[in-house]
């Protein structure tokens, strides 16, 4: 079996009597694109936040490449090789696209002091340019990120998550609000990146078509527990899943 | 003991006036996230509106107060909200902070140039007669200030709680989105808040000017104390501002008497820092949501 990148073990979390996540366990392996879906209120976001160390689970634990993430700050998690994107637009609007990407990578280069006295781009311009052209944003390289269209900003957001060569990338609703043509482009780029770098993805997404065509494996949550797991085809045919979405 | 009592009572009397300024301050914050660095000048200026009414226009004093109130509510409420704050609201805190600082300078200079650079006496609402309680001397003015402030604050609470407009204002402060879908004219409610702030400031002006005298430079210390009171008490509570105002009035007196008169403002300042670090929502504030 291939190497385990993310391991979720018996996570439970409740808020004021409501069990948001109940005893969820699964592993994600190197190079996988795992989709995490479920109707509203199924506990996806809670689980996601436990993985990101932002919520402390009541029970269970999360390890990334063998290291416990409990109590880790976001910047420490990043150093562990976890990249992420955000549901809302999350670029640095008053900085150029290039600077956005350099910032995304620089903290992984050298020490605080070597960065102060080293080159101003931390030696990352080339790599950032590669990433920019990979996402076909070349013509926007020097524009302020905040002046780009919504879809373009989503691309920049995604590109930033990859700048530090992460082992695991968590994509939080990457397709939200992106128009159809842009969506196809985003999906294709993510797939290509995954194939070329064997980076592991975990995707939360409501757009089922996007999830089904991007992911290699899907975990379905409902009312805080896993109700199904399998390939997109299997999930699509699963009556429990359909019921969960349509309601009983 | 009588000294201590004296300090407490005097502190409460001045503190109640601070509370009026502080309450207006918190109302603006709740309604529109406006931090008004000119709040002290908002207390300083109405005294001059009233003096213009009584000395220049020759109105009898009670009518002059009404005149001052009307002018203050219009300029410091309506005009301030529409012309200054409203265009800046989408741009965050800093421009409002800077603009209100500049506005404070503008108001000071206007008063100095067009009225007088000199301090002015201001007629007192209450007699300066005094009586003794356990050795402490209390004047009618002390009692009057406390009473008027208390009545104003209770009236405000009743207005906010019991009237249709008051409840609409509360809804606007606590959850503007909901207020809107219930048909509340959110912008108008915010405007009312500004006007109430101006009215409270006028009241504070009427109470404080007989003691403090009316002078163009008075705004700065009053504004500073209003800030302190608002933060110490809790930015999102009328009660908080009240308690904060009284507390600052008393602590100021006590630290001057028992710590060091040279370091007297250090007392309230250290209290401020401690409160912000340990309980940023203030003594009575709630951490979630904004509440009137």
């Amino acid at each position: 079996m291939t190497e385990t990148v993310l391991s979720i073990r018996n996570i439970s979390k409740s808020f004021g009597g409501i069990h948001a996540v109940r005893d969820v366990s699964f592993d994600v392996y190197k190079g996988e694109v795992l989709g995490l879906i479920g109707p509203n209120g199924s506990g996806k976001s809670t689980l996601f936040n436990c993985v990101l160390g932002q919520l402390k689970p009541d029970a269970g634990g999360v390890t990334v490449t063998g290291q416990d993430v409990a109590g880790k700050r976001a910047c420490e998690l990043s150093k562990l090789g976890v990249g992420r994107t955000f549901q809302q637009l999350s670029v640095f609007p008053e900085m150029s696209v290039l600077d956005n990407l350099i910032l995304a990578g620089q903290e992984h280069r050298g020490s605080m002091f070597s960065r102060l006295f080293g080159p101003s781009d931390a030696g990352l311009t080339e790599e950032a340019d590669r990433m920019i052209s990979f996402f076909r944003l070349g013509h926007l390289r020097d524009e302020l990120a905040g002046s780009l269209s919504y879809g373009q900003q989503k691309l920049v957001d995604a590109a930033m998550a990859f700048m530090a060569n992460p082992a695991l990338v968590l994509l939080d609703e990457p397709a939200g609000g992106v128009n159809l043509t842009m969506l196809g482009h985003l999906k294709e780029r993510l797939k290509t990146y995954n194939r070329e770098h064997e980076t592991t993805f975990v995707v939360i997404e409501h757009n089922m078509e996007f999830v089904m065509s991007l992911c290699t494996r899907i975990v379905v949550l409902a009312e805080g527990a896993i109700i199904a797991e399998g390939t997109p085809e299997e999930i699509r045919a699963n009556q429990t899943v359909i019921d969960a979405y349509l309601g009983s | 003991m009588s000294d201590f009592l004296q300090l407490i009572i005097s502190g409460l009397s001045t503190g109640s006036i601070y509370a009026l300024a502080a309450i207006g301050f918190t109302l603006l914050w709740q309604a529109s996230q406006t931090i008004n660095f000119a709040q002290g000048e908002f207390v300083m200026v109405p005294a001059f509106f009233i003096l213009i009414g009584s000395r220049v226009l020759g109105l009898p004093f009670p009518i002059a107060i009404g005149f001052g109130l009307a002018v203050a509510v219009f300029t410091l409420g309506f005009v301030f909200k529409r012309l200054v704050i409203q265009p800046m609201l989408p741009h965050g805190h800093l421009p409002i902070v800077m603009a209100t600082i500049a506005l404070a300078i503008l108001m000071r200079e206007l008063v100095k140039e067009f009225y007088s650079a000199e301090a002015q006496t201001f007629p007192a609402l209450f007699s300066e007669q005094t009586f003794d309680v356990f050795g402490a001397v209390i004047s009618h003015q002390d009692i009057g200030n406390l009473a008027v402030s208390a009545v104003a604050i209770i009236a405000l609470q009743l207005f906010l709680g019991r009237t249709r407009t008051g409840r609409s204002m509360q809804a606007t402060a606590q959850n503007p989105g909901v207020a809107e879908i219930l048909g509340v004219n959110v912008q108008r409610m915010v405007l009312y808040t500004f006007m109430i702030n101006a009215a409270l400031a006028t009241l504070a002006s009427v109470l404080i000017s007989p003691i403090y005298l009316a002078k163009f430079s008075n705004g700065e210390p009053i504004g500073l104390v209003a800030f302190l009171a608002a933060i110490v008490g809790g930015f999102n509570q009328v009660r908080g501002a009240l308690v904060g105002g009284l507390l600052i009035g008393v602590i100021d007196n006590l630290s001057a008497a028992y710590l060091s008169s040279e370091y007297r403002i250090a007392g309230p300042m250290i209290l401020l820092i401690v409160i912000i670090l340990l309980r940023p929502q203030g003594l009575l504030g709630t951490s979630e949501g904004r509440t009137v």
């Binding site: - | 000294d3 004296q6 300090l7 005097s10 502190g11 001045t14 200079e109 100095k112 650079a117 000199e118 301090a119 006496t121 300066e128 005094t130 001397v137 004047s139 404080i208 003691i211 403090y212 005298l213 002078k215 163009f216 430079s217 008075n218 700065e220 210390p221 009053i222 009035g249 100021d252 007196n253 006590l254 001057a256 008497a257 008169s261 040279e262 007297r264 403002i265």
Partner: protein, 376 residues
């Protein structure tokens, strides 16, 4: 006609001072026109302007008309320093101001470095104690007036203890230190020493401390508005001890603002418009006729300052700054020579001023001069 033009051209060609400047003499007035000191600076400035108009109407100084440029320090020491420099750059022959000691201490460095005579209205003792040969006062330093008060406390009131209320800035600190030194010298005990802030609103705690000290007398050294607030609070808390002060406490403004609470206070004033001298009365009348408010000691300081400048230049006989400064040292101006100097006055070699002063008492809303104290 033709001749004059030729002459003017010739003068200009030879680089001799232009015709216009031969007829006017520029002085700089650097004062507190805005900020907390605005009241003080405006009175000072108004009196100077009145003096200039009178002097010009009487033929000017050395045959030249005076021209006064006024600069606003915003009651800020650093601004005042810059503005004194600007006034010098603009060609001021002599500088008048500033009134606030905090500013004067800074800006007198500039006039000293460039050898420009400066007549100030400040009362902090340190100004004339720094060996600056170009700085002169138009009123007493606190170290001159405090002995007079000490003598009165000791001999007049027979006080054995005293409580002091002072404002914690240059003005108050200077007066406080000089006063406390005098008390020590005379063996009067300072039983309460209460400082307050400029702009302080609530004097309840100050008065509580002054009252509980049970001193034989209370000495007050605050600015006008704070004096008024303190007096009101003293009356409110029924303080019985005699209240003694220096010039500021006995200012008309304090009496007006304290609305009766000043009744009965006593003290020493260097200059007062209530003095029974005909010159002072005439000045007070001219001033209130012209400006519509009553002159105070700050106005008198300004008035004395401009007449001092005019007289010193006149006596020096030429536009030589060093010579004017030398003339001012150890100079005496008498009312007979210059009526508008208001009182006979002398300067010593440090620039400190000496003249008669007054012991006054407030009765109702009037200041009554009780006694005339000799110059020391």
């Amino acid at each position: 006609m033709f001749k004059t033009i030729t002459l003017a051209t010739a003068l200009a060609t030879f680089g001799i001072i232009g015709a216009a400047s031969a007829e006017t003499l520029k002085l700089g007035n650097v004062a507190e026109l805005s900020g907390p000191g605005a009241t003080v600076g405006n009175a000072w400035t108004d009196a100077i302007n009145m003096g200039v108009d009178e002097i010009n109407a009487a033929g000017g100084v050395l045959g030249m008309q005076l021209e006064i440029d006024t600069y606003d320090t915003q009651t800020d020491a650093q601004t005042s320093r810059a503005l004194v420099q600007k006034a010098i750059d603009d060609g001021a022959f002599l500088i008048l101001g500033t009134v606030y000691s905090s500013s004067t201490i800074v800006n007198m460095l500039v006039t000293m470095q460039q050898g420009i005579p400066q007549i100030v209205g400040s009362e902090s003792p340190s100004i004339t104690q720094k060996g600056n040969p170009y700085v002169f006062r138009s009123s007493f330093g606190a170290q001159k007036s405090m002995p007079k008060i000490a003598a009165y406390l000791d001999e007049g009131l027979g006080a054995k203890s005293v409580a002091v209320s002072w404002v914690n800035n240059e003005f108050g600190k200077g007066g406080h230190d000089a006063f406390v030194a005098e008390m020590e010298a005379r063996g009067i005990e300072v039983v309460a020493d209460v400082s307050s802030e400029v702009g302080q609103a609530d004097f309840a705690s100050d008065v509580t401390q002054l009252k509980s000290a049970n001193a034989d007398a209370i000495f007050v050294y605050l600015h006008e508005e704070e004096s008024a607030r303190l007096l009101k609070e003293l009356r409110k808390q029924n303080v019985e001890a005699p209240i003694i002060g220096e010039t500021t406490l006995l200012n008309q403004k304090v009496i007006e603002l304290s609305e009766g609470a000043a009744d009965g206070i006593m003290g020493h004033v260097g200059l007062t418009v209530d003095a029974p001298n005909p010159e002072i009365q005439a000045f007070a009348k001219r001033f209130s006729d012209r400006y519509g408010y009553k002159a105070d000691h700050n106005a008198m300081k300004g008035y004395v300052a401009i007449y001092t400048a005019a007289t010193a230049i006149e006596r020096a006989g030429e536009l030589d700054r060093q010579k004017v400064a030398d003339t001012l040292h150890n100079m005496t101006i008498t009312v007979e020579d210059v009526p508008n100097i208001l009182l006979n006055v002398s300067w010593d070699e440090t620039g400190e001023v000496s003249r008669e002063s007054f012991l006054v008492e407030v009765q109702g809303d009037e200041t009554i001069v009780k006694d005339m104290l000799p110059a020391n």
